[in-house]
Symmetry: C2
Subunit: 255 residues, 2 copies
């Protein structure tokens, strides 16, 4: 299933007891519609406050409910800040998390002179102009296979810190003032990786880190050389790609 | 001052004791910044849940605070769902409400197949296709000076129910799925007028009221012939116009 949610009122994706998580809300809705208890796996374990427009989850349904009826039934139960946009039947071994070949995230900034209430829920207000070209040069250095140890939350434990970034770009679009969009696709992400990368690009945009220092920060591998971890509200899970099913992309985009 | 707010968490514009209204929040912020108590008048008394991107308020400031510093000071105090976008110095007799020559409102529908969490906060989800051309034909009949008694909430008391509609149009734009935007400019609005007009246009779009019956509904003047009052979340106060100060328009638009 492809899902979208406004992360503001969710305590992240992953189930934590009775807290209002995406997994809990989806498992409760799916269990009601399927008529049996349903476990849900998510492609990306988004944190509290992070939005998704192309999250992918997998679950088992024993009955034979037509997909369009399943979408309508789930959406009629789900609260207003979460929706199912597509349902695809897959092979039994499919797992939304393990089978994903890459994921696309966005971090959205607004450099509008004040924080519009229609922007600050979905993007990080900067209230000052930044150097876009420098941010673009810096972002392109993330592309390729690198050790991203400098771009993960301290204390997190992943077996390896090498990931392959397929694409990393900064673009600008006019909507609700000017938005600066950092979009990155990789075969995997370390904990807080995109928010630290975005924080580093912001330091570049403000002239505090040189546009060409990003490669050196990666090489040195020390968290303290990278920029701050930015708040979750600017982060979006856009789409997840699979070998057998192609891009499970949202049917629309907010910006 | 030009203001924008996400109406979801406000109990409307007009002060009602200690309820969280736009007027209360603004008067408290202005009093702190001005250093003296400040009364606020609004051009449009938007209801609970109605959004504004171009609301205009007037207030008296005894000191001499430069306008750009006033904007920054107010926005640093105001909560996230409300902001001041512009401050203009005006003549002492100016009143945002009495001096307004016209106001522009929008009612936004989404006919996307499901209610996206990023749409349903700001537009009315329809979950079905409607006849746009019929809605456009119907909307144009509101233009001109008419008695709009059929398009006001029952029980409301206005001295006269005749208003002049300067422009009334339905357009479609692609953003977060397809949005249908009803935009109307008039020299004044009766209570719930735009929401009842939008409800009537929706009945036209669904084929329950004929596109050419709108004139007849106006002529008969009976509330029961018009469509339902639609929910507030699709309604937006876009801009207010003044003889001396021109359009006090928002610097950006959401859709």
């Amino acid at each position: 299933m492809i899902m979208e949610y406004d992360g503001t009122e969710f305590c992240g994706f992953q189930r934590q007891g009775d807290l209002r998580t995406v997994q809990l809300v989806m498992e409760q809705a799916a269990s009601r519609v399927f008529g049996h208890s349903a476990k849900v796996r998510g492609a990306g374990r988004t944190d509290s406050g992070v939005h998704a427009i192309g999250q992918v989850i997998s679950t088992d349904c024993m009955g034979s409910i037509p997909t369009d009826r399943m979408i309508r039934a789930l959406n009629s139960i789900l609260p207003e800040d979460i929706a199912v946009s597509r349902v695809v039947e897959v092979e039994e071994q499919f797992c939304a998390q393990r089978c994903a070949t890459s994921k696309v995230y966005r971090y959205v900034f607004s450099d509008h002179e004040y924080a519009s209430p229609f922007v600050s829920r979905y993007a990080l207000p900067l209230r000052q102009r930044v150097d876009i070209q420098a941010m673009q040069e810096a972002a392109s250095q993330f592309e390729g296979s690198h050790d991203f140890a400098a771009f993960r939350a301290t204390g997190s434990s992943a077996k390896t810190t090498t990931r392959t970034v397929l694409s990393s770009k900064v673009s600008v679009r006019e909507a609700i003032g000017r938005l600066i969009v950092f979009e990155i696709e990789a075969n995997g992400f370390l904990y807080n990786m995109v928010r630290i990368m975005a924080g580093t690009l912001l330091e570049v945009g403000r002239g505090r880190i040189g546009a060409h220092d990003v490669s050196e920060i990666m090489r040195l591998g020390a968290r303290e050389n990278a920029g701050p971890t930015l708040p979750p509200n600017g982060l979006w899970l856009m789409c997840v790609r699979y070998e057998r099913h192609g891009s499970l992309t949202a049917t629309h985009q907010l910006y």
